[in-house]
């Protein structure tokens, strides 16, 4: 309620069609009235602007240049983008791979995180902590996914190969991470394994933040089963956490790179696990064509922005 009236107060003068000077005076007045807000924002915003916003703004135009890190960037207009979309077969392939990964680490992982967070929430408090830890653990240790190399190793030392051969399912070791037909599946499994990260934990926090008395009230109001409880009480109460998790999942889904590169090698067989981000890494840090690399990242950024807006619309009513 109060939020709405506050919004109205700001909107009202604009309805009156003020002159430019009036508008400026009004804004100044509002800024003075709310000076405390700016004081409280300042400590964070100073660092945020200097070390995040400024570098981001500086990187944006780099996609339109030719830049090798040694000489000053040279403006080339849309040249990078022409090459990217018309003349780069590997990029086209990487779009496909990225989309495959994005489906698994995006929507699928998002729904899994939600279901798991929900199920965990139904348990006894000690078990809650334990299971949250279990599902979050893979994201906790920076590069623990290297262990999968031991499991998927292509020789008989690999756990999976040894296990299958022991059971007599196969007689020769499978090349899990170099065989073009197997590696995509293997990397997807590992991607899923590490994807219960920030989003999952934020959802857990969202569940924990719900007031328990809401459920009792719900039961009195005639909620019959847990499903209704979820739809009418739980989801509306944790909407903002869902939005946060969605943003995290979008970032994760579109920037899949390091897991595939570590496990399947770089470059991977037949570019099977070559994502857009891997492509950007290739051009940026292997060939030192930073301008081209920045153009790739720029395209990815636009795609992510569009996705974010779509998801924002879908979860729209929970945004604020």
């Amino acid at each position: 309620m109060a939020e709405q009236t506050a919004k109205k107060e700001i909107l009202l003068p604009s309805e009156r069609k003020m002159s430019r000077k009036e508008k400026r005076d009004y804004t100044l007045h509002e800024m003075k009235r709310n000076y405390m807000c700016y004081v409280m924002l300042a400590p964070f915003m100073i660092f945020f602007i200097i070390f995040t916003v400024v570098p981001v703004i500086m990187s944006l135009p780099m996609g339109f240049t030719s830049f090798d890190m040694a000489s000053f960037p040279k403006w080339v207009g849309f040249q990078n983008f022409y090459t990217l979309f018309l003349d780069d077969d590997v990029f086209m392939k990487s779009i496909r791979t990225t989309l495959i990964f994005a489906i698994f680490t995006g929507p699928l992982s998002y729904m899994m995180s939600f279901m798991l967070a929900w199920l965990i929430n139904e348990l006894h408090p000690t078990l809650k902590t334990l299971f949250t830890l279990v599902f979050y653990a893979p994201s906790m240790a920076g590069n623990i996914y290297f262990v999968w190399q031991l499991i998927f190793s292509g020789d008989q030392y690999g756990y999976l190969n040894a296990f299958l051969m022991e059971l007599g399912i196969t007689y020769n070791a499978k090349q899990w991470l170099t065989d073009a037909s197997l590696m995509l599946g293997c990397v997807i499994i590992v991607q899923l394994w590490v994807s219960m990260g920030a989003g999952f934990l934020a959802m857990r926090a969202g569940f924990q933040g719900i007031d328990k008395s809401m459920y009792e009230a719900g039961a009195i109001e005639g909620i019959k089963n847990r499903w209704q409880e979820l739809i009418y009480i739980t989801i509306p109460s944790m909407g903002p956490s869902l939005m946060f998790a969605a943003v995290m999942q979008i970032v994760q889904a579109f920037t899949c790179d390091i897991v595939g590169r570590t496990l399947a090698g770089f470059p991977s067989t037949d570019y099977k696990v070559h994502t857009i981000m891997t492509h950007a890494f290739d051009y940026g840090w292997v060939r030192y064509e930073m301008g081209y690399s920045a153009a790739i990242c720029f395209v990815l950024f636009v795609v992510m922005l569009v996705c974010n807006n779509l998801v924002g619309k879908m979860l729209g009513k929970y945004m604020d």
Partner: protein, 325 residues
Amino acid sequence: MAKKKKDLKPSELAALREQENAAALAALKKRREKEHKKMLKSKGSNKRVGKSWTNDIGIFLLLFFMGLFMVFPIYLAVVNSIKPVQEVFLMPPKLYAMDPTTENFRDLFKIANNSWVPFSRNIFNSVFVTVVATVLHVLFASTAAFVLSKCRFPGFDFLNQVVVIALLFNSTVLYIMQYMVMATLGMINTYSALILPIISTSMGLYLMRQSMTTIPDAMIEAAKVDGAGLMRICWGVVMPNCKPALMTIIIFEFQTAWNANGGGLVYDEALKTIPVVVQQIAAAGIARQGAIAASAVVLMIPPLLVFVLAQRNVMETMAHAGMKD
């Protein structure tokens, strides 16, 4: 009804409305009473619906088997870290250590101690960077998140947009630009280069902001009426009600700061953190297979401790958290 609604006089119309309202209210009351009676009849009227023994066991089993899949690789890393060298290359590989040893861990520390600077210095660096970055980020980001979620002022929408867009932006060039900013400010190869980039990320801020929007405005209005300033409202009223989110960003920040390796911004041996040193050791290849596993296990312990402490804190506070309407 004899007359149409629009032909009625205002006074008659009002009377009609009142009548309708009264009827609706009576019906509602009746329904409530019926439901209330039903509630009282069913046992444990103040318990959650659909909560039962069998359900709980089913959920537990499902989570247990999925949890096995999640934990198995980590278990392998732990087992590998306590295997002696000859067992690491055993055929077929074993799922347990037949002759567990701490050799790998001792190796790790021996190598670490033989490097240029004493390992204690690296430990100090890591602890210092982690604590300072976590505390500052949590303080700054929470305050800013409160303003960005609960106050209206010119620039409000714009700043909120910037926070999300900064999260989505991810570029290979970004690091170079960050390097240039750092170089301009003369911060290359200092503690600032390790700490400040961590403080300035917007992820924690965004999570706090999202969580704070669920706090009812009435609570803040009440505090305002009681004469509390914004700072007081933020830390005295809003923050205690955002404990789960607060603990979550502490976990995130601790983890990020603990794993920070300074990128290319720090090259002095005396400033390197534990992850960097451990990476250097593990980079020696196949001969250090056990040491790699040991290093992963060692690096995992501090974030794990913080996680458990933070989660326990959430449980305790949520147990007797009261007001939230």
